[in-house]
Each structure stands twice: as C-alpha cells, then as structure tokens.
Symmetry: C2
Subunit: 463 residues, 2 copies
C-alpha cells in the first residue's frame, strides 16, 4: 500500500488515522490506556535500515520481477517520522470508539505505522486493564506481584506485560530485565527447586535464611504444605534469634483459601503475626475474589500467566482507520468505512475527546471534530444505531483527553516517570468507579460530527 | 536463588533440569515442539552485560543493604554458558510429561536459565501447535496466511508467533520483519484504508492494479461486498486486457461462507475461475471447519489474532524442574517435587524419550533414565496413578527423540533451515494422526525409572 500511494503520488498527502478499540475487554466497562511511551521510543528512532532496504529489494512479484523499484526503496531509506501525534496519556481510563492515538501527517507514514502502533497499544492497554481489575479486587492495601514471564507470549510479551501490569496497579515484577529497563520494583521468591536441592525442607529453609535474612519468603508446598508452614515457623524462630524477621511464606498449590487460613492460625499462634502470606497459582481477579469470599488470609498476591497473557481475553480488538485525507486543494475530505453493523462503521473526522467531570469524577465523554468544533454542548448522540440523545451532564470540569505528543516529528511531550502513570491509573479507575459503577459509560458524538457522519454514510449508500 | 547456591558453594554442582508441559493445549492430543533455534541463539550469547551488573548492584534488601555482594556480581560477570543441552528438534510431535529440553551442567546456570527457556519454548510450541491444527483443517493444498501482528502480545509476541506459525504449517506471514529475520515468505493484501483513500471503490481497485499487476488481490468489503466483487471483476477484465490476471479477492466481514459461494459464482460466470477467494476475520480451526461444512468457496485463509495469541488457550502450561543433582562425591541424586495430584509430581532422573514407530508412524513413547538404561523393553508404566502397564507396541523403529544441542557450552547441532522444520512438523503431525486419531497417545515410564520414582516418593512421604 505504501508503494501504491507513492506510485500514485499520494504519499505526502496529509492524512488522519485514529486508533480505537470497539469493545471493552474482560466483559468490563472501561480500559486503561498504556503503551504510549513504547510508541514514543519507536517513533523517535523510526527509519528503515540498510538491511531492511536490502531485504525489501529481494522481494519478488508472482512473475519474478522486483516487487519494489529502486526509486521507492530510496524514498523509504530517506523517510523519517514527520507527523503530529496526539494521544491519551498512559493510565487514563478510556472507552470503546475513543481514539487512543491520532496520527496526522503524510499518508504513507500513517499507513506504514498502522500495524506497529496497533501492536504496541493494543497489548499494553489490554494488560494494564487486566492489572487494574486485579487491583480493584485486592483493594489498595494488599500487594500484587507480577510473576508472568515464564508463560508470557515471547520475551517481549513478558517485558511489555510487566510494564503495563505495573501501570495498571501491580506493585512489582519478577522480571528483572523489566525492572532494569522500566524502573519497576523487582521482587521474587525461591522456587521448589531450591527446596529439592537440599536433603530436606528444613535444611533448605535454613540455608535460605542465611542468604536472604532481610528478604526471607519461604515457599512451603514442595512436599506437604502444613508441614512446610511448621518448618517455616521453626526457621522463623531461628531467624528471629539472629535479629531478623520471617517476612512471608508462599502457598503455590492446593486449596489456597483454606490453607492460608490454617497457615495464618499456625503463624499467629507461634508469634508470627507480622509474617505475611503470599498466594500464587493460576490467580486472576476472579480467583482472588473467590478466595476473599472464602476468607483467605492472604495479603500478597502473585499473579502470573492469567495476567500477562490476559488469559480469558488475550487480545484487545483495536483497529486503525483512515478518517480524513486532504485533497489536491488542501481541503480535508472525511473518510468512512461502512459495515452492516453500526458499531463497525468507522468514525470520519479529526477527533478530540472532551471528558465532563464533577469533583474529579468522569461522567460522560463527547467526541468532537477539531475542524468543526463544538457548537451544541447541551447534548450529544450515541454511536450505536438508532442514535439517541445523551444530555451533557452537569459538570465542573471539561477536559480534552488527547494531548500533543509529536509535532512534525518532534516529541513535545514531557516523559513522565512510570510511577506517575501508575498513580494516574489508580486514581482514574477509582474516580471512574465512583461515578459509574458497573454501567456502560456514556460516550457520544458531538452533533455536527454526527450529522457529517450520517451524510457520508448516505453518500456512500447512494453511490 | 542463584546467589544462594553461590553463597552455599553449590553453584557449580552438576544438575539436571527438564522442561515439560503437563497438558496438551486446545483440548488436543499432541503438541508441536518449537522455539529451539531461539533458545540456541540466546545461549550462544549468554552473558551478563556491564549494565546488567550495575543494575543488579543497585538492588536493596528490606533494611537497605545491597542485595548482592560484589564478589557474586563479579562471578556473574564472568559467567558463560557451559552446560550440555539436549532437546526435541523443532517440528517434532511431543506429548505431556516429555522433556522438550534437558539441561545438564552447573546448578546455577540451569537455575538462571529457567524462566527464559520456559518463555521461549512455551510460547512457540503453543503457536506451532495452533498453526498445525489450522493446517489439519485446511488440508495440504490450501494456503494459510498468518496476519496476526496488529493484535499479537507485543512486538516479539508477533515475531515469535510468525516463526512458530510457519513451523506449524502456515505458508506465509504479513510480518515483514519476521520474513527478513527468519526467512519466511511474506505476503499481504491491501486494507480498507486503500479503498477509502480514493473517491470510489472502482477507482481504488483500478489504482491498485497499476501498482501490483502481478500480485493483485482486492479487498471487496469496504462498502458493499457483492458490489465489491462485481467491481473486482470489472477491474480483473481490464487487468486481463493488459496481460495480467486477478489473483484473488478478499472477504473480511459478514457471513464469509455464503458470501464466498456467491462471489465464486460471480467470478466463475465472468470467466475468473482461477481467481482465488481469501477469507479473513476472526478465523481459527473451528471457524474454518464451520465454513467448510457450509461449503465455503475459500482456498486461502488469513488467520490472525486467534492464531498468534492462541486465543482459546493463550499459554502452554510448561514447567521446569530440577530432576537430578550430583552430591559431593560426584554421584547423581535424583530429585522430586511432590503434589497431591499425581500429574503434578515431578519426574526424577536424566531423561531420554524413546519413540516406537512402524512404517514411520509413531505408536508409543517410553521415557527412560540415561543412567539406569533400558532393561525391560516389553512394557512400561503409565505416569498417572494408579499405574498401569502399557505393552511396547510392535515396531520397526525405535528412535530417541532428544538430540544433543550443546556440549559443554558449545553448539553441536547443525542449524536446519526453517523450511525443514516446517516440513518435519507437517510430516510428523500427519504420521501421528494416521497412527493415533483422536485418542490419547501412550507415553510411559521405563520400569526401573518408575520404581526409582516410587521409591523417592515413599522416602519423601516417610520423612
């Protein structure tokens, strides 16, 4: 397609693409935007390498000719990112049909970036959302450790997931490389193999306290869990004699809820009230809620595979659509893709999201076209068909959610530390839940934008 | 744990770890091993960089002291991979409890590698298996194009998936970087945005033929699918006048089966019997089987999200267990991890898999211990409890499945071209299906190994 635009002289035409998702993941009613910093890092260094070009020159058409002529490859070699990018800051609560990214610039660039931008933002948004759901269940005071690397979808599936899970509300990761690259706290415990290396569990525990007296968490289920807890208590007593405290024990199999209750009793009776219990083994928001209902005495949750692969819904249904293109006269022409399903009809225009809040609580969002502006701020129209009116709620703040990230290829956004992104997501999800509960959040189209979209649909249908 | 082994002087003790999975993914009865070449590339360059070491030196214990002493970090800096690695060649059909990898070497190395090896092999094996399931449904003569990058789990989730999907039986990928890095055929079609760039569908199609006369596939559902097919036919006629042929049309929404039948009729009537129909949109083995039942006239399948994320089962449950460790006298001691579920009890020993075949068809596998050898080749015992005997089937070939990959840190395996791995998987799955159908494949433990395992369990339980 890039070659096609170039061949037809359309490649430098200013174009606007939006990246949206259509459905909230996990049967929830929100998503947490993530992945923008990864996008920024990618775009700052966007180029085709010599090796890329020479690979592309080897591709052939069905009759054996070169797929791409040298002139086009030369053009690619010189290509640098020169677009405007507006985006939703990471950690922001977002909803179906809202642009997470808006790219404005040469058609060829917007097109070439489609797949990469979708890949980076779809996945991290998915995982940040999953982590925030786990956080909603644990509450603010318990710890969530992300333990997912071994079954994540490739090395980067793990790295990106660790980053996004932290933004969504995890406290730490066991992925040390993610700790190094993204400044996330790292944390881990020993595995069963540590225990099996030694002649028996007691000597394995004892050996571990010598190594990690200040960070001692013992995994108690290698052989028999309750015996393991007892052995951990004996080890904790010796540790205490040496001036340190047993920080935690970890349960990794069996009926975690009832084992945690038994373990808590044993620990308390032995004077280890401050020793925490970590649970792990196929946990997610549902399993944790279930354990809490059963009175589990767990305050640290090790969440792995189900979080980092988003096991119950492993992909966000993000799409990336051309929504406007300048004609030869430099006027914007709005673009639409039709579908039998109203929800799949793309939204033409150059979008901004206006969020209405009261006391910091988001109440509804209105999407409007930046060129058309906003003229009827008392109501808006639903995206679904048939279209119904939504009143703009009483508010004390109207915030535009998309912020400038690149202008003509230069990054204009200050990099935020990842801790700030995490704090934003925790604050945003909690404010959202306060205002919204489990209902569908109201997102509408500004009236002129709605009319323009309907006119375009009519035009296509009559063609 | 690595630091602990080092501190206790256990780090150089020869140890054996096995990587296995416990359950076939996708409710199927086999898996296709993949990821070994990625493991080889990783191990060839295994080291801690200066930056890694300086990051590790910043980590702190709970009382603010350094987590790792400088001596240990110095040891890590000098560390190079020096183990023996045996592995199942990529593309081989494998079954629960069989080691995909066996690492023999210093305890600290086996331990440090655990998470990375699990990550690399779990995911690629999962995706190769998924792709092979899709291939089983399409049969050998149809094409499967992997289109998954935009919703894959991170950039590497996409890259690894493209590689594994090709090994499992896909014909090509739309991921150009995967094409470049792994020598996989690349292939793509235009998107809806191409069509919306032009004033109408007919002019968009016509423009595309000028760009790709020899590789012309037209996406026909941007506005109205049947009208799109008719426009494609008109375009195909002009293309034919210019000496080229319309290769294919693509359907990407709606009722793909019935639309493909209608499209086929229209194409055939207009003299385009050789123009193929590509279908895409949330396809997987189930959707394709359903379409085939409905008589879909599709011969090329674009499979994306559901393949590259293994949507219905997005993680293989691989584990990595210490199974043997030398004592101070240099004798092997076998190691076991107990669980209430027999299937989760680890398998002690140093394993090889012997596969019994007749006329190239695999009939059963026996796992045996390399030190104990094989003394009773007439029967073996099931892994599940209670243990029952399995007769060794009549066979004309007994093949040991694990092959040497590294010896003392040096790669001793010839690198196979990825095409050979793909051919192996196609051949292996087809031979497996011929011998086995939908039943569970027989995998047993050699008798001495079984007895040794039971003795270890008894010893642990009596401790």
């Amino acid at each position: 397609m890039a070659y096609g635009y170039w061949k037809h002289g359309l490649h430098e035409r200013p174009a606007v693409f939006h990246q949206i998702f259509r459905k909230n993941p996990f049967k929830g009613n929100y998503a947490v935007a993530a992945g923008l910093q990864t996008v920024i890092d990618f775009l700052k260094d966007y180029h085709f390498s010599e090796l890329d070009i020479s690979y592309l020159s080897t591709l052939r058409t069905s009759n054996g000719g070169a797929l791409f002529p040298p002139d086009f490859l030369h053009y690619l070699k010189k290509l640098r990112f020169s677009c405007d990018l507006d985006a939703v800051p990471e950690g922001t609560v977002v909803f179906p049909h809202e642009p997470l990214l808006r790219i404005k610039g040469p058609l060829i660039q917007g097109q070439l970036l489609e797949t990469t931008l979708l890949n980076l933002v779809n996945f991290q948004t998915l995982i940040a959302t999953k982590a925030s759901r786990v956080r909603e269940i644990t509450g603010a005071n318990e710890q969530i450790l992300e333990f997912g690397m071994r079954r994540a979808q490739g090395p980067d599936g793990a790295l990106s997931a660790s980053r996004a899970a932290y933004i969504g509300g995890c406290d730490a990761t066991s992925n040390v490389l993610a700790g190094k690259l993204f400044d996330i706290p790292v944390c881990g415990t020993h595995a069963h193999s540590w225990v099996t290396v030694f002649p028996d569990e007691q000597s394995a525990f004892s050996a571990y306290t010598k190594v990690m007296p200040q960070n001692c968490t013992l995994l108690v289920d290698t052989y028999d869990t309750i015996q393991g807890v007892k052995n951990a208590i004996e080890t904790g007593k010796k540790l205490r004699d040496n001036g340190a405290e047993l920080q935690a024990i970890r349960l990794d199999s069996g009926d975690l809820a009832s084992l945690s209750i038994l373990a808590r009793e044993l620990l308390d009776k032995a004077g280890f009230e401050d020793t925490k219990i970590i649970a792990s083994n196929s946990l997610d928001e549902y399993a944790i809620a279930d354990m809490k209902n059963k009175g589990a005495a767990v305050s640290i949750w090790g969440v792995g595979t189900n979080l980092v692969t988003a096991f119950d819904h492993p992909a966000l249904d993000g799409v990336y659509k051309l929504s406007a293109l300048q004609n030869e006269k430099g006027e914007w022409e709005y673009k639409i893709k039709i579908s039998e399903q109203a929800v799949k009809v793309s939204n033409p225009g150059i979008y901004q999201i206006r969020r209405y809040l009261k006391h910091g609580v988001p109440l509804a969002d209105m999407m409007f076209d930046e060129e058309l502006g906003v003229t009827t701020p008392t109501s808006m129209l639903t995206i679904a068909s048939p279209h119904t009116q939504i009143e703009i709620p009483e508010h004390d703040e109207a915030r535009d959610v998309l912020v400038p990230v690149f202008r003509q290829g230069q990054c204009v956004m200050n990099i935020e530390p990842i801790q700030a992104l995490r704090e934003r997501s925790l604050k945003e999800v909690s404010a959202f839940r306060k205002g919204n509960g489990d209902e569908e959040y109201q997102v509408g189209l500004e009236d002129q934008l709605h009319q323009m979209k309907q006119a375009l649909i009519a035009k296509v249908n009559s063609a």
